[in-house]
Amino acid sequence: MQKYSIFNLVKNAFSNHQNWDLAWKDPTPKEEYDVVIIGGGGHGLATAYYLAKEHNITKVAIIEKGWIGGGNVGRNTTIIRSNYMHDENGLFSEFGMDLWRKMSQDLNYNVMFSPRGIINLAHSDAQMNAYARRGNSMRLNGIDAVLLNREQVKEIIPMADFSDNVRFPIFGGLMQPSAGTARHDAVAWGYARQADSMGVDIIQNCEVIGFDISAGKINGIRTSRGNIKAKKVGLCVAGSTNILAEKLNMTLPIETHLLQACVSEPIKPVLDNVVTFGAGHFYVSQSDKGEMVMGGDLDGYNSYAQKGNLPTLQHVLTEGIAMMPFLSKLKMLRTWGGIMDMSMDGSPIIDKTHIEGLYLNCGWCYGGFKATPASGWTFAHTIAQDRVHELNAGYSLNRFSTGHLIDEKGLGTKTWIS
């Protein structure tokens, strides 16, 4: 594989950049693989990469219905954080933060990881207490957390509404300084390029039609480009999880919902951090191009449409304007939607299934992008070793029957309620 470096950049400049190697190949599916990963999104590509890198399993195929990185890894708001209270989520995400910090070097691809900090705003004394508790839990797990009072928040984000006559005054906030953003497409492409160079076949425009299962064991998959035998199959299909589960005769604790995001026209640098509104569901950051990147609630009803509905967007942006009134002056440049695999407790599932050789990775709700490296790493471990790693032991499929829910948000079984 051609290394991306300043020297290669200069060298290729002499030939007008016409002679760069392809970043990944376009292979024809082979008859058989050791592992087939369904879903060429961030998590699937990361899984294939860590299977090759950490476990030396390179007879791997990624099967993608569309094009790689065209799903939620290309449709998110690029926020990376580990500000969770529960141990399972905190330790898993903080492990991921380490992978994020090393990712550009590791993948030889600039993912533009920018640890600019995230601030969750508090709008009441009770919320300050809850944040103090969450911050303490985070610090006990080795995650950085700083409780800010109103004055400290004002110093960092003076453009927020600090006037006296507001419905939701800012009392303070909880900050994770090491959180941040990254360039989402580069994450997918970086993992794809490295996985490809280690022998993984990335097969695009190939839809999974069915599964070949006998005596409780998976033997392969049926696709629109023919049958493929596989010793092990991993599902990394986010919003399409329920569709594939139906083909497997499984009913999962997952509902598929639509989440929208939008960007404004580009403006000069105004916001250094990621900021979330505490009296609703709204978050904002500013991209390197200057656009304000915003998002919030789900549309609120089951949906497979990869485009959103205006009432939710209006609701979300109303919250945004309540928090930062200057946003009302901006023109909207683009809105988009992605379909989310909403689990019933708001936490993901990375586990084996009752079918031997079939592994499940789903339930990412609002937080799939930031989990990309940790999800890929632990899923690769689960597939390669045929047992869960301690980092994803809590993300079991049977926790719903045993009562070991990880209900970070306290929303119960209706994580889609807005």
């Binding site: 139906e246 999962l252 604790p253 509902e255 598929t256 009803y301 089951n302 509905n309 889609w416």
Partner: protein, 89 residues
């Protein structure tokens, strides 16, 4: 914007409604032994169909009645609406 034909009030915008999830889910009978699996299916497990989906909505800013709506989850087309106690053929 979705327009939902409330069987009690007529055609209204989605802003007046709140969503209540899959309407085909049945609570296990109380007068018999209920297995953990049956509770699981009732509380957590959902088919989340792509296509026609029968679901509960509440006309929260109107008559406050729960209703059933048959809607396509891929196109958002609404086919039929029913009162909560109406049997859907």
């Amino acid at each position: 914007m979705l327009y939902i034909n409330c069987p009690h009030c007529g055609m209204r915008s989605q802003n007046e409604f709140s969503y209540g999830g899959d309407a085909s889910v049945k609570r296990p009978e109380l007068n018999k032994e209920v297995s953990d699996q049956e509770w699981d299916n009732f509380v957590y497990n959902r088919k989340s169909l792509r296509g026609k989906h029968l679901e509960l909505w509440q006309h929260i800013s109107g008559c406050r009645q729960w209703i059933k709506v048959e809607r396509d989850t891929a196109t958002h087309e609404i086919f039929r609406t029913f009162k909560a106690d109406e049997e859907v053929a």
